[in-house]
Amino acid sequence: MSFVLGLKSKETGREYPKKALYVCEYDFSPLEAFYDYDGIKKVLTREKIEKGPKSIWRYRELLPIDGEPTVGFYTGFTPLVKAHNLARELGVRTVYVKDDSVCHPTFSFKDRVVAVALSKARELGFKTVACASTGNLANSVSAHGANAGFERYIFIPHDLEKAKIMASLVYNPHVVTVNGNYDDVNRLCGEIASKYNWGFVNVNLRPYYSEGSKTFGFEIAEQLGWRAPQHIVAPAASGSLLTKIWKALKEFEQLELLSGPVKTKMHCAQAMGCSPISTAILDNVDFIKPVKPKTIAKSLAIGNPADGYYAKDIVKKSGGSAAMVTDAEIQEGILMLARTEGIFTETAGGVTVASAKKLIESGAIGPDDEVVIAITGNGMKTQDAIQDVVSDVIPIEPTMDSFEKAIQGKPCRV
């Protein structure tokens, strides 16, 4: 049973069939899946979702595939961690960490979007799938695509973290490193996609891919006991995730699955060295000015964000705000989450934690408020970024004497 009716231009509402299309032929605006919400409302209840699989596919009625899912049976349904220690350190009443650092199979929220995109790619008959990536999407297309039996072409900027390149190569796709930044890779892939009949997950499969991000928002609401939180701080690269978390909450509201209206304030987290969306929000301008990224948060290094306008509009409409943080603050964000909650996130997560801190300090998030922090990736992939700021090991000889000398003056609680 499928409830997705087709694709629609986000600007003009012009309708298109459920094919591998991604922009409106008339105004070039992105296409978005639309659904038969009346039909969904008749069949979808809290109980039905709660009885579903412990993966993104428990929300299948709200995802844009026609048949049964074929990819990502273990993806999603990640922990929503009540973070008491982090809340105390940040000086805010309640903090939840939505922890996609443990998403299956490649430890980032991209596993959600790729599960949907590749299920759709199979329906559309593609044999080869491809992507332009800042790293995490590459890992996910490589892994999900291996399991699903696709030929895979992965395009990444040449200067990504070693661990992120390795985490693609191991699945044996064709990894093409492009001598340029992500926006160069993206432009090239736009041109390749129009020449080769491949399923590019973030180009011609984008309307399906991006809907996968909604599951991040669905899970937050379900795990909070079917309600929307007061604040969500989400990282933005292209701005798609932030946009879709909001869409997810509004869909649940429309389907009357929540206990009250959505009053969530959405906040945009970016790195100082690549903050086209946060800048537009904080400067209160309508124009998103592209930038040349320069930041350790390489997964967020998109200088020309395709969904920037929509992300900005949602932040504004929801009454939220934005922050941008320096490389040093990103490092401290990673360390803070690790030392308070025992969660090791990548640089994107560092951006989000550090941005949450700034938003709390500035009063955009009040001391008595409740905030959900979107942790979207795993720290094992970006270890280089914190090499200089973690504490040193304590080297000793294999003797008691050497040990006791070494720990002199250190806290020894018994």
Binding site: E11, Y22, V23, C24, E25, Y26, D27, F28, S29, P30, K110, C131, A132, S133, T134, N136, L137, A138, G180, Y182, D183, D184, N186, R187, C189, G190, E191, A193, S194, K195, V201, N202, V203, R206, Y209, S210, A237, S238, G239, S240, I288, K289, P290, K292, I302, N304, P305, A306, D307, Y309
Partner: protein, 91 residues
């Protein structure tokens, strides 16, 4: 002063399927005028009612985004490569 223009898939209906065309132009602005003359309907797709390039259309001269150059006033010289690419999502 002929430049090479790469046409994105959604606009190839207007160029009879051609993915690359040669156009005489000295700036992005008059490139768009020339494109419209040769392939009527093109300008309306690429520009809004005020003649500004639509916000989801990215134009590159020799791989550089014209928003980092002089926008519509960016100059062109013989042999330049111009790409018109719709904005695409990230990863």
């Amino acid at each position: 002063m002929s430049v090479k223009v790469r046409i994105p898939t959604p606009l190839q209906k207007l160029t009879a399927g051609e993915a690359e065309v040669q156009i005489e132009a000295t700036s992005i602005q008059n490139l768009f005028v020339a494109l419209e003359q040769k392939y009527p309907g093109m300008k309306e797709r690429l520009c809004d009612e005020n003649g500004k390039i639509r916000r989801f259309v990215n134009v590159y001269v020799n791989e550089e985004d014209i928003r980092f150059l002089q926008q519509e006033n960016s100059a062109l010289k013989a042999g330049d490569d111009v790409s018109i690419v719709p904005a695409i999502a990230g990863g």
